[in-house]
Each structure stands twice: as structure tokens, then as C-alpha cells.
Symmetry: C2
Amino acid sequence: MNIGEIAKRAGVSRSTVSYALSGKRAVSDHTREKIQRVIDELGYRPNASARALANGRTNTIGLVFPPAGDHYTGMQLDFIGSVVEAGATYDYDVLLSPSGVDSDRSFQRLLGERRVDGAILMEIRLQDDRVDHLLAENFPAVCIGRTARPEGDWWVGLDHTALAAACVHHLADLGHRRVALVNRPERLLRAGYESAHRGLEGFTKAAAERGLTVRTYTCGDDAPSGQACLERILYDDPATTALVTLNEAALGGLYRGLSHAGRHVPRDFSVTGVVAARWAETVTPQLTAADMPAAQMGRLAVELLVERLDHPDAPPRHHLLAPPISLRASTGPAGTGPAGSVAPTPPGSDLNA
Amino acid sequence: MNIGEIAKRAGVSRSTVSYALSGKRAVSDHTREKIQRVIDELGYRPNASARALANGRTNTIGLVFPPAGDHYTGMQLDFIGSVVEAGATYDYDVLLSPSGVDSDRSFQRLLGERRVDGAILMEIRLQDDRVDHLLAENFPAVCIGRTARPEGDWWVGLDHTALAAACVHHLADLGHRRVALVNRPERLLRAGYESAHRGLEGFTKAAAERGLTVRTYTCGDDAPSGQACLERILYDDPATTALVTLNEAALGGLYRGLSHAGRHVPRDFSVTGVVAARWAETVTPQLTAADMPAAQMGRLAVELLVERLDHPDAPPRHHLLAPPISLRASTGPAGTGPAGSVAPTPPGSDLNA
DNA sequence: TTGAAAGCGTTACCAT
DNA sequence: ATGGTAACGCTTTCAA
């Protein structure tokens, strides 16, 4: 079942069928209806590969994110979902590419073999060879996140520096003096993950401004790591009264650790951080946090990419978002610490992924 | 940059280049090396559309799941992740299709336009027009889940009936007599979602066998709905001492509702259900549950699909999984109920999505 | 061991 | 308003 068959049965040429379908050339009502009847009858749909080969467009966008190893985090989920749905509204399909570096087979396939018209990259590193690669080839791409030098590129980013700082100021305003930062896994920090670095920077600077005593930790992307991390925090400094987490997946574990240590949130201990709203509302008490607007970012990235694809010479555009802190129930005034503080036990050593 | 260019520079024919790449015909070492040098030098990669057009294979599989509306659940995330990674090991890319019914544009594109070699379907309904459609066309597909008549089809499923029953027996063994079921949203139940129906069936039958007093609820896929649902459960029957949830996304809200009602888990109230392990470990206390082996199911689905693609006439295969209940910390012996039971207040009315 | 050429199913240019 | 035909870039059969 191909366009030739349709043409034959409708008694017209193949090009007329093509034009009737694409609307790129006027076709008389009579002819179009005749063609449409045949198409409906036979259930014809043009072959995507042939079309892509002929006109050079696949109508597919690639979504590139690092292989998760064992699992993905909630925000990644939100990003993927929003990109897929936004793409669908523009009739773009989304091809997933689990690639952390530009040498990944999947990344090579996507771009080298021209499987997609453009790409959206997630989990950007400050130095990101995938981005460099794309930039060098002038391949239509939009980053969710910024490299160290984002000028001249297309991206939608979050101001992690400002967000982490806002968390610190919020806690300082509540009177907290000893605060911990729970960052993403050591491995990601070392790899240069933007959110981990900029968040750390914002935290550190704001803490210095407010004269706080701080400690910073890396933590695996899962609940058990979060629990272990919390134990270490209290072991290192039992007088800690608050924490900021950039690590969403660890949140449940952090809460559990606090509960086991007998610290009530928010009476004895305040928790805040940068987390997608949906997950902030899952825990009890609900997390006061700078809500990462994952769905909005995914949608914006698609919009930017579509614009770039439609106007290949358009100047680079970007969006830098800095959502305010949503006050929920996990932070409160610094107290005098728990009455009967439990003697800390040395925590396990597998804090990191 | 195309195969002709490579051929010219290497001083061979295009077919020789093609064969050197595919290995489908012997090529002398000398020639192959010469070609490879040129390829490396120019960074050539064959165009995927042209290749797909010529040999009829896209090396892409479609992953079909309903559009989430506002968000996806954790298990969906696990499925997507595992399918993508398993696909990558076979050098298959994954194309996402947010389609709940066979008339969705994205579904039509995927299959009708032959964008993919095969498909994996999620969120199966007992009567599923997508499955019927695929079956009728003998399109290579594998379902994650089973329709009402799964014979003759390819699938990897979970024995929701047995799992829900196991939860009931577990609670009955602990002495619970009044138990609630928290199901997926009403909308999904009405649409005929397999897990919701078979889970309900298993729950109801097992409860009857054990002579339990039960109530069943539908609940939106989010924490606030879970909280509201829990309030209604205790309002309808304050003597309820345990619940089984098929709704993972509501879990955090259920816990919060219990906490607000002053019911301690597991002392005053036991919670269990069917939930992906990763999410069962996020809550405190960790959930005793039949762990939905999402990652394994995704991997199996890919393996089945690859087999079906490699052997178009192979007889249908499937896997029915029934993981045991993982004992964690959220269930315990039925007590005599809380000492000073809080007077229930009428819950809100937006229990369902 | 290699080359030539005929498809694969579209699109889009050049005619009329 | 429509038809004819040359691309698009690859694979694969047929010949040598």
C-alpha cells in the first residue's frame, strides 16, 4: 500500500496525491475528495522513512539524558512526560536517548544517522561534550540546563544559585545557625553537573553572607542513601537544626533518618530544598521548597526547539527561571534543640551512589 | 556526506561500502581497512531514513502509554526507564507514544507510518482497542499487562489477582478484620484498567474467603487524593485497621492521612499493597508490599519483542509474574484500635482524579 | 572479491 | 490544476 497505488485507484498522478495530502499545492475539490475517499477506504498512511528521506525531516525530536543505571528520579520523569506531551501537540514524536556523553552509541545514532530533526538535552554538565559537539555542528538543540558558558546557545535553565541561596536565607530568617546541604551523588558532582555545582555555590555564598555554620554532603539518589546521609549529618554535628536538599530522591530517606533520630519536623529540625512540587507534596510534613517547575521547563524547551527548527537562522533564545519558595510545612523557627538528644551512632559509609 | 562519497574516496563501489559496513558479504581485509579509514576520517554515518526505506527496518521500537494529563506515576517511570535501557542493549532506540486509544494521532503515526519495527504497550485495559488493532494487523507488539483474553498474544503481566489476594491474606493472618482497598482512579477503573480490575477481584474474593469486612475506594493518582481517601475510609468505618493500596501515587497521602488521624503505622493501622520496590522504600515506615518488578518487566518485554522481531513466525510467548510480599515495616498485628479515637470529620469530595 | 543497477516510497521541481 | 520524473541515500540482486 503506497502512494502509487492510491494514485492509480484515484486515477491521478502520485504527485497529485502527495500534494492533496500536504496541501503544498492547490488541488481541486473534486480531485481531493476522490483521493481522500480512496485513502479512507484503504487506510493508507504515507511511509515515514520514505518521507523523511525525501524531504529531510523526520518530525521526531530526540530527548537525551544520561542512562540512569538503576533508576530515574522524579524530576526526570516530569521532564520526560512534559516533553513528550508538548511534542505531541506539535505532532512531533520523541525518541529517547540514554546518553551521558557524546560517545554513547545512542547519541551517535540519534545525531549522526539523522534520526531526529533536533534534540533536547537534560542533565547538563558545566563542561558538556554533548553540548560542545552539537554546538560545533550547529545541530538544532535546546538544553534543559546551562553549561559554564551558555551564551550563544539555546536553553531553558533554573537559577540554582539563587534557589539554593533563597533556601539558606529562608532558614537564616527563621534563626537557624547550623545548616547542612544534601547534594546529588559525588559522582555527579565530580562529573560537573550544573545543578549540583551552582546549587552548592549558591548555598555556600549565602551561608557565608549570613554567617552560618555549614557542612555539605553528597548523597546517593535513593531513600537509603538519604537516611544514611542524615545519620552522618547528626553524627558530625548534632547541633544541626536544618538542611537544604538538592537531592529529591533522597528526601524520603532524610525524613526517615530524622524520625529515627527523634527529631520532629519542623519543631526540632527544618527541611527545605529544590524539589519538583509533586514530590514535595508527597512527604509528611509537606516540604517547603523552591519548586522545580519541571513540566513548564519541558514545555518551554519544546517550544524553543520548534521555533529553532522552523527558523534555522533565528538568534539563540533562552529562559532562566527562578521560582519562589513555596511555604509548606517542613520549616519553622530554630528551637533550642531537642530536649533529650539521642546519642549518635557512627553511620554507615555508603552515602554516595 | 553519503555512501557514494565514501565509495568514491575509497575507490570502490557503493555496494562494497555497504557490505563492508554490514558484513553481509565478504570483503577483503585490504578493502575494508581502506574504507574504514575514509569513514573514520570523514565521520560518516549511514542515514537512518534511507536505510529504513531500503531494508524495511527502523531499529526503533515504540513505547505506547496513555497520556498522563498532568503527571506520570512512579511505576510508569520505572517501566519507561527499563525499556529504554534494555532497548539500548539491543541497539534499539525507543520512540514514545502517548496514546491511550488506537485513534490517537501519535498511535496512528507510529504504526501506520511504520516508524517503528515493533511496539510495547503499557497500561493495558481488559478490552483494549489498541491491542485489538495490533492483533488484527499482526503487528509485532508486546503488552505489559493482559487483556481479558490474552491467549495468543505476547505479553508480560503481573498476577494482580493473586497479589491483591496475598495482601489480604497477609492482613487476615495478622488478625485484621476490617480492611479497605484503595484502588486507582474511578476513571481508570471505568476504562477497564487491568490492574485495577484484577486487583479488585483478588481483593474481594480473598476477603470473602477470610470473612473480612471490607470497603473499596477509588482514589486519584496523587498525594492529596490519598489523604482525602484515607479520611473517608476512617469516616466510613472508624474501626478499619488496615488497607491495601493498588495506588502507588496515593501512598504518601495515605500515610499523611493516618498520621493526621493519630493512627500510628503499624501499631494502630497496617498498610500494604502492590507498589514498585523503590517507592515502597521511600515512605516511613517502609511499606510491606508485593513489589511490582517494573524494571524486570520492562526488560522482559523488550526481550520478548526482540525475539518476535527476529522470528516473525515464532509462537506467542508470555511471562506471568507473581512476586512474593516483601516484609518491611508497615504491617503488624491488629490491635484493639487506638485508645482515644479522634472524632472523624466529613472528608472532602474530590477523592477521584 | 567486487561492480552495476534496480528498487524502497516519498517529495518537489519542471513541464504543460 | 495536474502529470512526469529526478532526486533522497541506502540495500540487495544479478553479473562478472
